[in-house]
Symmetry: none
Amino acid sequence: MVTLPQLDTALEEPLYRQLYQYYREEILSGRLSRGERIPPTRELAGQLGLNRATVASAYELLETEGLIRGHVGRGSFVEGPGVDVALSPLSWPERLADPLIAETATPALLSSADAISFTSARPADELFPLDEFRASCAEVIGGAQAAEILQLGSPQGFGPLRAHLLGQARRQDQARPADDVIVTSGCQQALDLLQRLLTTAGDTVLVEDPVYPGLRNVFIRAGVRVVGVPVGAQGLDLEALDRLVARERPRLLVVTPNFQNPTGTTLPLPARESLLRMAAGAGLPVVENDIYGELRYQGEALPTLKALDSAGLVVQIKSFSKITFPGLRVGWILAPGIVIERLAELKQWTDLHSDQLSQAVLLRFAESGRLAAHCRRMVEAGAERLRAVLAACERHLPGGSYWTRPQGGMNLWVRLPEPMDASDLLGRAVRENVSYLPGRYFAVGRPDPGAFRLSFAGLTPEKIEKGLRILGSIFEKDRASGRELRRGAPAPAIV
Amino acid sequence: MVTLPQLDTALEEPLYRQLYQYYREEILSGRLSRGERIPPTRELAGQLGLNRATVASAYELLETEGLIRGHVGRGSFVEGPGVDVALSPLSWPERLADPLIAETATPALLSSADAISFTSARPADELFPLDEFRASCAEVIGGAQAAEILQLGSPQGFGPLRAHLLGQARRQDQARPADDVIVTSGCQQALDLLQRLLTTAGDTVLVEDPVYPGLRNVFIRAGVRVVGVPVGAQGLDLEALDRLVARERPRLLVVTPNFQNPTGTTLPLPARESLLRMAAGAGLPVVENDIYGELRYQGEALPTLKALDSAGLVVQIKSFSKITFPGLRVGWILAPGIVIERLAELKQWTDLHSDQLSQAVLLRFAESGRLAAHCRRMVEAGAERLRAVLAACERHLPGGSYWTRPQGGMNLWVRLPEPMDASDLLGRAVRENVSYLPGRYFAVGRPDPGAFRLSFAGLTPEKIEKGLRILGSIFEKDRASGRELRRGAPAPAIV
């Protein structure tokens, strides 16, 4: 049973459109469903006291939209809605606005048990303190705060963890009086939030070259120009920095003074002080990535940029990922309160807040003293692995190779003698079950073809020695064949 | 009083370097502070039984590093560490590129135990299945996968959870053959990633008006134009949508067909089908936010847009936050493989991957059957709370008020009769320990001053009844005084 439409001649809307809209709404709302008959034009015109052409115009519109269909001699029937005609498929590639950063796709990790992968700057599985983790976790979920942890939290982070981190920074003279802390989902998110807060498309940011690709890409994808400052054996080249600050008028400088990724280098104390003086002179905020800071295996700890900063221009980022469990995503930012406040707003619209279970478990891990004990074991193991990788480089890399001498962290940087190409040689290494990341993954400017990164912290000394022995023999063979090639017939022209 | 350094002739390290390191450590640690005098070389050499040249060499090194300074005839004084010239402080407000979205700051939640807060769309603490959570957690951390969970994971999500979610979507006919899943840190991050993948500054996106502020703000902060499609009692107004799609040429449409936040409305089936036809006709991708989908308390479940979509244009986002624990940040996106692949790259540079402990615990919670049992209890409790809030609205809201009749979810939308202003009245409510969120927080276009959101799911039926009784009496008083005001002297001109 169809009720009659109520039309209103006082409205500006013509009657045929009122009629059309009435039926359209009836059909779209489902009050009239597919297959139901609607009155013939003549009949409805009579019932409503309308001209038959008015009704026909309304029906025409409905038919055009596929909502009804007329059958000669039988009247009109409801057709839609319903996706009765197959919809034309959407072409997704045209709808994707975000640029693909293709060259950064990392090679597949080797997964067989006897593979030796120098590709990932992560702690070794076998060093995970599983029992201590389980104990911390059990204490947290068995505790009185469990319901609070499971409920919606604060964008700035789990209160007790924030208090712990800020208290620790104060005790270590890292924090200035106006500083505050925000918890992030690891250092990667810290970089992402800082990119959004401190730069806009078209700005220039200075980073180390070579650099961790996740740092470079955060800025590239936001349309920010990334300019590299060369890294030498003593970290960032300060003369180059001075020149680039003057020439590029950067919006931001991001540095990793301790055990930089990928080179493993450490910035000496006087260079840290000079860097701060330059930045203060140029009004340039500095992001200090101190993710590896706790992993010093040799020499004495140097004060961080944050500790030296009397101008309040340093934003420090740190994380639990390298010293505990990368699978738990908890990092933090220590910065002036005004910066933290704005980061918290940003964080809210980015992912509301970081996972609270992991925040609470890591806090328990730290407060129980288990973190400090674990750190000592990590430093011990790291020192052993660092000695192993340096000795193995000495033993197996071809003459004329250069490599850094890190004092901590997880990475070491190798440069093979010319004209060897670390990218070309990777295929051979993978066939012998060994892998590393060639220099091009870390390049900001022109890649160095002979360079590659050795991430040694995740491998036992035995695997390090064996892996480098295999690499050394591949490199040696390449060098020998290169000599032959150069001694042999001239290469044909490239056409 | 300066203690004497302890030097050790048995060490390999030369004595001058031991001395140098001793003072360096004293200064860097702050035990010796700037301006303090250190003994003259002759004096110290005498005290330590050293050659004076040894002491002088150590001092020379310290002076080179800027740690001490010698004054002729007065001795040496501590200079560093620290940037010795006071650096000019950085002015942060000028360095912040990100726009502040000030109007969205939410009012402080009432925190006293007897407060009645209708402000937050979150599950009730007292409904958390703590024992089931603890059991799931214990099973995960005690299991063989613990080390894998703690290690670095995949940007697309924890493999077993992804497989579970995709399998479930297939069994429920939600997934098309080419679809895939990526795990996100809740629905908020899903929106953030989709904003970045599918829109750029200057684009237009259509959203419901009123809408969840976290959705609107994700686009606003990226410089995307947000245009609102009005929501009526039956969800999105399809005629308005039709007009706006033609006029605005939007890049994206975001809708919440089930129990929309803040109105609680449900889009009827024919409207879902019409919406898809319009979108397919315009080549318009649709993001379907189905975060509340499992929380239906009345009526029959309707097919989602994703299930109806034959054109492959729907991207569906879902989350565990509303049905389990908001403190664990795990949501997911179901979309064509090409979209998921690109989202995974984006996710990697955003926060590497989501927290794996929570992913594993929620997977265990689901696979053990605890999630399904908990969902049944949530739906039972929600149905009771929905009945309570509808009855209390009927009983206590002033005549002429309008409110929605949700069939599920956590929110209900009220509009008070003119000229009442829900923002103005909030202050009085808070003084009586009751709070809600006024309509302006959710407005895309012009806010509706009489409107506000009642989030009822986190409150017991008793609190709901009591809270609405208090609100009703505040509103009634306001109406009475309004009548008096209108009957009284004309208001003075605003100057």
